[in-house]
């Protein structure tokens, strides 16, 4: 981040007429390096896929892909629909109405983000299982005894998986939609109201279309997280493309075939993103003038029963995505209070915190640099590259990490070879199997989150701010550092927190790339889960959730102040 200020070209400020077209070799050079590092694992997977013979395809095409592709599509569609409804609905409720507990709910609705999908899947399966509390209550209530006595919806289905994924990912949509409802379209909403449109009509015809790009960005993150998920769908027995990647790789020993399926998944994601982009191409919404950034919309009070109904409505997603996992793991943890004193747990907590902090920093800096470079050059190519760099989020984490592992190890061994030949000593593996590799992998994986948040912040800034600063003689980097960056502070914090939270939850890349003795909370849980005893990881699972919600709560205070002042 500080590179903006430190590396300002000395000549830039002195040639006023050329600010727009000046070159920024250093920032572009840095951006190019960052982009290539970010693309490294994806390119490696691409090469692995190309090196395959295609021998897996007759089998895959005939028996695996048709079914798992359909399952994946259904899952994605249901999750997109679910998170869209829940996320946008909650955002609208919080922004437009006043009801009991509204302030608390405004940040509590972000809490489900702290729950990793694989733990949520486990908790939901327990909760709705035959021996779980819900069916137990049903049986006591109606006097049933056996499963055959009554019908109960099965959570271990595609729709069940969609409910689980929706419950823990809708906050991405909620966060982006709420910001837009708060900050954009205030004026047009007022205009529409004065012209006689009812509030509902204003919402559907004016505010929703204006918020659409932001909602789409949130849903895109949700879909990428859904398509890359392995743990949740595996536990619920839903055969998505990701499971086909793993059975091809592990059971049939074909990493090449697995990489090929992974690329097919990437193509699907790119296709979805492009389709959305094209669909709203002709719509443009210019940011409101800066004076309105601080304007707070008046909220309509809901009184009596309607107020209570609104509270219930807002509470439901929190209870589902946060309450159920908390209840299940809380109960297990209560049976194991001694684990709280386990030194391994404290160690894992510190490692998780340090890793997440470092990853958030790296990812946010990379996102700022890439977006800054893209806006400087104003070239389509750079913009496309920036978007493409974040696509790794759609790959299963293990596959992305494998790509990084293969390329990093090759680099390490190359350096080691050089050192041995010319200097007579061995450097060993410099990056592979070090904490650096873990941070790098997580940063690459979650760059999409950082980019999304920063991009959303940039889009809300009136473009004339930068133009004003530049015409007053600031160079582009100086304008970025002194004018844009401070205004972007909320967006940068959001970006950092999203990456932090996801890194605390991250498992697959960490476990593949970590050095000896490097235990995070997530690996602690997994070591228990992988031998069929998730209960023993309950304390660590709770620690993940608590660690992940802390920044959310800290942030919510400063953000609400910023936005509602």
């Amino acid at each position: 981040m500080s590179s903006f200020t430190l590396r300002q070209p000395a000549s830039a400020a002195m040639k006023p007429g050329r600010t727009r077209r000046q070159r920024h070799p250093l920032s572009l050079f840095l951006a190019a390096i960052v982009a290539s590092v970010v693309l490294l694992p994806i390119i490696t997977i691409f090469i692995v896929a190309l090196s395959g013979s295609g021998a897996d395809w007759p089998h895959l095409a005939r028996y695996v892909l048709p079914r798992s592709a359909v399952t994946t599509f259904i899952l994605l569609a249901q999750v997109a629909f679910g998170t869209g409804i829940v996320g946008v609905g909650c955002a609208w409720l919080i922004v437009a109405y006043d009801f009991p507990l509204r302030r608390t709910l405004s940040w509590a609705l972000v809490l489900p983000l702290a729950v990793p999908p694989y733990l949520a899947a486990y908790a939901f399966a327990e909760f709705f299982d035959f021996v779980g509390p819900v069916q137990g209550a049903v049986r006591t209530l109606f006097g049933f005894e056996r499963p055959s006595d009554y019908w109960f919806p099965d959570i271990r289905t595609t729709t069940g998986a969609a409910i689980v994924m929706t419950s823990v990912t809708f906050p991405y949509v909620y966060l982006t939609a709420r910001v837009v409802f708060l900050m954009q379209g205030r004026n047009i909403a007022d205009v529409a109201r004065t012209l006689g449109a009812a509030p509902a009509r204003v919402f559907w015809r004016v505010l929703l279309p204006v918020a659409r790009p932001a909602i789409a960005a949130g849903v895109a993150l949700v879909l990428m997280e859904t398509i890359n998920d392995f743990g949740a769908v595996e536990h619920l027995g839903v055969r998505t493309l990701t499971l086909a990647v793993f059975s091809t790789w592990l059971n049939r020993g074909s990493l090449e075939g697995a990489a090929q399926i992974a690329l097919v998944m990437l193509v699907i994601v790119i296709f979805l993103l492009m389709a959305e982009h094209l669909a709203r191409r002709r719509q443009r919404f210019h940011a409101a003038r800066s004076t309105q950034i601080k304007a707070r919309p008046p909220r309509k009070p809901l009184l009596g029963l309607r107020g209570i109904a609104a509270t219930m409505l807002g509470l439901l997603p929190v209870l589902s995505g946060f309450g159920i996992p908390l209840a299940i793991f809380g109960r297990y943890a209560l049976n194991r209070p001694h684990q709280l004193a386990d030194p391994h747990l404290a160690e894992a907590l510190i490692t998780s915190l340090a890793t997440a902090l470092a990853t958030a920093l790296v990812a946010v800096c990379a996102a700022l640099l890439l977006l800054y470079a893209a806006s400087l050059t104003r070239s389509r190519g750079m913009a496309v590259l920036t978007r493409f760099a974040a696509i790794g989020y759609a790959l299963p984490g293990t596959i992305l990490a494998l790509g990084l592992l293969i390329s990093l190890a090759r680099f390490d061994n190359f350096i080691d070879g050089l050192a041995r030949e010319y200097a007579g000593f061995s450097t060993g593996l410099l990056f592979t199997g070090s904490a650096v590799a873990v941070v790098l992998a997580c940063a690459i994986r979650f760059l999409a989150l950082a980019e999304g948040a920063v991009q959303a912040g940039l889009a809300k800034l009136p473009p004339n701010l930068d133009e004003a600063a530049r015409s007053l003689g600031r160079s582009a980097p100086a304008s970025a550092a002194t004018v844009l960056l401070p205004l972007l502070k909320p967006a940068i914090l959001t970006a950092g927190i999203l990456v932090f939270v996801d890194t605390v939850k991250e498992l697959s890349a960490t476990i593949l790339l970590r050095p000896f003795g490097f235990n995070t909370l997530a690996t602690y849980v997994y070591e228990n889960a992988s031998r069929g005893a998730v209960e023993d990881g309950a304390m660590a699972a709770l620690a993940i959730i608590v660690t992940a919600i802390m920044p959310v709560i800290l942030l919510s205070g400063s953000l609400t102040r910023d936005r509602e002042a």
Binding site: M1, S247, L357, A358, F516, G532
Partner: protein, 351 residues
């Protein structure tokens, strides 16, 4: 102020990470150490490694890694710190050999302790413990006390069988053993029969199948022996004792070729930097002392003849392992995995 906070935080994090990275790598390359890449959970092997360190003075470093273990060693190449590889499932052992990340070991102690059917003919891997893939049957609703794998395809079990995903390595090995014994066509017919008998779509782990029997969703489950031992002795979740209490363990094909067993095992990494220590560890793990720990703590069957199984495991009855060499079974893994897809096993009974 925001800037300063951000900067000092970043400096702190970078320092912390650099420090930790350094300390991690320095321990991994110290003298008198042996580095283990393990697919077995650290706390399962901890008692063994503690005993080893006490006896030899050699420290152990464990890296727990499941998917991608062999890919990581392959990528690390000549600089890989891995000495000993510990995995479960014969398929994984064959995989590490085929990936070329192991080296053959010709050692008298190992060959004496470990029966030939439980090790690689060329010495690339060695079994340490075995576990039976058995039938969990409802005590209440299943009367018979013997069963065969073949019988699971019998329509009399329609809507009564529960099992985890067919693509799970333990089921892949079981199906591969059916292919080895009956040939691919007959095995496929069998798998289709089992699929038709499923009570629900395959999901969860082995314990969940016992739970399903307890709940009355199914009468028959397929699972590994040691899970029963763990459920029977689970003091922290006593309800699991009830699940275990609802089932009886049937050893399939006891009157015939024997029950399908899988192994956990070890291999020496190709570029092991601490080869001597690695060999000492491998010898120790096959010794009577270590084998007894395995049996007592993990409810597995030791490979070393003459070492007693735990009282809990004894209560299941006698196991007669299938004598077909495991390496033979492993050859049919890819075919088994494709068969699971072809049959649509994981789609459940009604598809």
């Amino acid at each position: 102020m925001f800037h300063n906070a951000f900067r000092s935080k970043s400096a702190l994090a970078v320092l912390a990470l650099a420090g930790s990275a350094f300390s991690f790598s320095s321990t991994a390359y110290a003298d008198d150490v042996v580095n283990i890449y393990s697919q077995r959970q650290p706390f399962l092997i901890e008692p063994l490694l503690d005993a080893f360190t006490e006896e030899t003075g050699i420290e152990t470093e464990v890296l727990f890694l499941n998917q991608g273990l062999e890919d990581r060693i392959e990528a690390e190449g000549v600089n890989s710190p891995a000495d000993v590889i510990l995995t479960v499932d014969v398929g994984r052992l064959v995989n590490v050999k085929e990936k070329g990340v192991t080296q053959p070991v010709e050692d008298e102690t190992l060959n004496e302790n470990i029966p030939a059917e439980f090790r690689d003919p060329e010495g690339h891997w060695f079994g340490l413990t075995t576990r039976g893939r058995v039938v969990y049957a409802s005590k209440e609703r299943v009367e018979q006390d013997t069963i065969t794998y073949e019988e699971l395809a019998d329509p009399k079990w329609k809507g009564k069988i529960c099992v985890r995903s067919g693509q799970h390595m333990y089921n892949i090995a079981l199906i591969a053993s059916m292919i080895a014994h009956h040939g691919e066509d007959e095995a496929e017919e069998w798998l289709e029969g089992v699929k038709a008998n499923l009570a629900r779509k395959p999901n969860g782990g082995d314990r969940d199948q016992a739970q399903g029997i307890y709940a009355g969703e199914c009468d028959i489950g397929i699972g590994n022996t040691y899970y029963v031992g763990k459920m029977m002795t689970n003091e922290e979740e006593p309800e699991q004792k009830e699940w275990a209490d609802a089932i009886k363990v049937l050893f399939p094909n006891t009157d015939g070729r024997g029950t399908h067993v899988n192994i956990s095992g070890m291999a020496l990494a190709k570029n092991a930097p601490n080869q001597e220590n690695a060999l000492k560890l491998m010898q120790f793990l096959s010794s009577g002392e270590a084998q007894a720990i395995y049996a007592e703590h993990n409810y597995e069957y030791p490979v070393l003849p003459g070492v007693e199984v735990s009282e809990t495991v004894k209560s299941f009855g006698e196991i007669k392992p299938d004598s077909l060499p495991l390496a033979e079974i492993a050859k049919n893994r890819a075919a088994a995995s494709e068969m699971v897809d072809r049959v649509g096993f994981d789609d459940g009974p009604e598809s």
